[in-house]
Symmetry: C2
């Protein structure tokens, strides 16, 4: 009971809570610390009437009960979810929305049926362009009238990838209610908004989906500059996080472990490097975890802090193609995809 870290409460209704990143002790996030990101109040779920519908441009529309899904072959995959608004609080100027710091991400092993198996059974028609995923959570928006369900789409090639799951289990237990029970989509490598919770309907369509969580939210909006004015938020950008020490921490002289995690949605993270001198020199961190394609990978670095003073500590991830993180964040109006190199100050006494 003592020394119990807690979720960091960003909003109560809808519930938005952050994993306390400084408590990153295991690769799998304990369920009670798994970050929670909701757009609406929790839905009412009645398992006796719940069905997962598949329809639209398919030859064999279907309605699967929970038991139907449980009887199908189950696949497991370790997938870290990261909110697209992760580290939003670090943008300057600040941008609207939940002011997530380091912990809008968590890791679990998800088990369920392959979305590709369901789509194959349904038979996607040749004119199909996208697949939409509709959750049971619903409510109003501040920027337009009406009521909406949380709904997202994926292009057909992404939706048919064998690694996408309709997850029924999280870390070997039935999916907890607040993480999408009875079933949630898991889109490995994508920011968390793609992994629709309380999934109730899958629809194959022949035009780009225009719902507000696809076209108003979760787009990189910019003014001027070289980059497009609007670009969809998709895969997790290469990023490393320092879990310990924490910013402005005061430590005694001696050896200290610097620890954290790194993740990327495009190419595997090859290396994490640490700088203690504001980026002048960099040292390779060691891996705590083995490589798994869609999982964050914890790293550590032993720092011999034998000088008193204030140190500017940075961690940067490098992927297999040699890409690394930018020094400056890619500021965008809605504050998505922050992946500038994290920098903290540590005081050695």
């Amino acid at each position: 009971m003592l020394y119990q870290p807690h979720l960091i409460t960003r909003r109560i209704v809808p519930e938005n809570q952050e994993f306390p990143m400084l408590s990153l002790s295991s690769r799998i996030t304990p369920e009670h610390l798994f970050y929670v990101r909701n757009h609406f109040p929790y839905p009412v779920v009645d398992l006796s009437s719940w069905k997962l519908g598949i329809g639209g441009l398919v030859d064999q529309p279907a309605n699967y009960s929970y038991e139907d899904l449980l009887r199908m072959p189950q696949y497991s995959l370790a997938v870290t979810l990261q909110c697209a608004g992760e580290k939003r609080a670090y943008f300057h100027p600040l941008t609207p929305g939940e002011q997530w710091e380091l912990g809008a991400n968590s890791h679990a092993v998800w088990t369920g049926v392959r979305l590709a198996d369901l789509l194959r059974a349904a038979g996607i028609r040749r004119n199909a362009l996208e697949v939409t995923f509709e959750g049971m959570d619903r409510g109003g928006r501040t920027d337009m009238p009406g009521e909406f369900t949380f709904m997202r789409s994926l292009p057909i090639p992404v939706a048919c990838h064998p690694d996408l799951l309709i997850a029924l289990y999280m870390n070997g237990q039935p999916l907890p209610f607040r993480h999408g029970y009875p079933a949630r989509l898991i889109v490995p490598g994508w920011y968390g908004m793609a992994s629709v919770k309380w999934l109730q309907r899958i629809t194959v369509i022949d035009e780009p989906f225009q719902g507000p969580f696809q076209t108003n939210d979760y787009v990189y909006l910019r003014e001027g500059g070289d980059q497009p004015a609007s670009e969809p938020v998709t895969r997790i950008r290469l990023n490393a996080m320092i879990a310990q020490p924490t910013d402005q921490e005061v430590i005694a002289r001696g050896n200290h472990w610097i620890t954290g995690a790194a993740i990327a949605g495009d190419h595997p993270v090859a290396l994490v490097e640490i700088s203690i001198d504001h980026g002048d020199t960099w040292h390779a961190a060691s891996w705590i975890d083995p490589h798994e394609t869609y999982a964050w990978r914890r790293w550590c670095y032993l720092w011999g802090a034998d000088q008193k003073g204030t140190f500017s500590m940075m961690a940067r991830a490098v992927d297999l193609l040699g890409n690394t993180q930018p020094v400056r964040p890619d500021w965008n109006k809605k504050g998505y995809g922050y992946n500038a190199i994290q920098k903290i100050q540590v005081h050695v006494e």
Copy 2:
């Protein structure tokens, strides 16, 4: 179980956790959300051997058992505790230590014996200058060798004030262990470091106490300027906090309650004023709570947000003498006593 706010974890050992200020719904903070500020790991408390010793420059040294204290007259007082590092994260440049935001404060009704009664029974000698209070929590420091208990002093006139309690109860329940069981000092109106937890010894002395939590920590350290280079941290500075909305919150057009709390350790808070236009015009908030000398007082203001746009919202407290909060924080090296006017941005859609 759903929609459960949590303490915001700033450090796990020693445990330092912050009240999520956005969940300020009652004046009394629920015990599981009461902020926790520790300098050391938790002590081991054995009630069968625990005594509260009173000694030093007194005529009648004494050792009180828990039962002795329970049998004495019990007084109750509503006292808000606020950490001296409250809002430290808002200083620029950042200062070392826990990066507390709004919630390093909480409110409870404390019940226990009067310190003044114990001191009177002991008989303070005429050459006495200060009274020290020693907790059972102990450990090392980063800035000097050796082991220390958490220990603080008060000048004799402060220590003899009838409102200081040796609290045995919090909100009618025996003092919870993490808040100082079996007994903690409560120094109303002072920052929380004065309210020593797990109190084990009270000593009357004839010279200024020089312990590190008195002279190294909890002093306003400054360089240059008009103010003294070093000044002890004592009473809670006049300050108002906005609980809702939160910084960068997105809201729909319409009426919204702005809510928060205000507190001061010197003179009663007379008024809280709100500005929606970056400080050009100010409007009086209404009180939710009646005045109680040592308690934060919740306030509210109904804002008719009928224009779209981004608004700079501020709240400032004014005390009975007409003092108000500064626009700029009194930056000091260790980041204590932040009480600049809080400013947030709210986006109306």
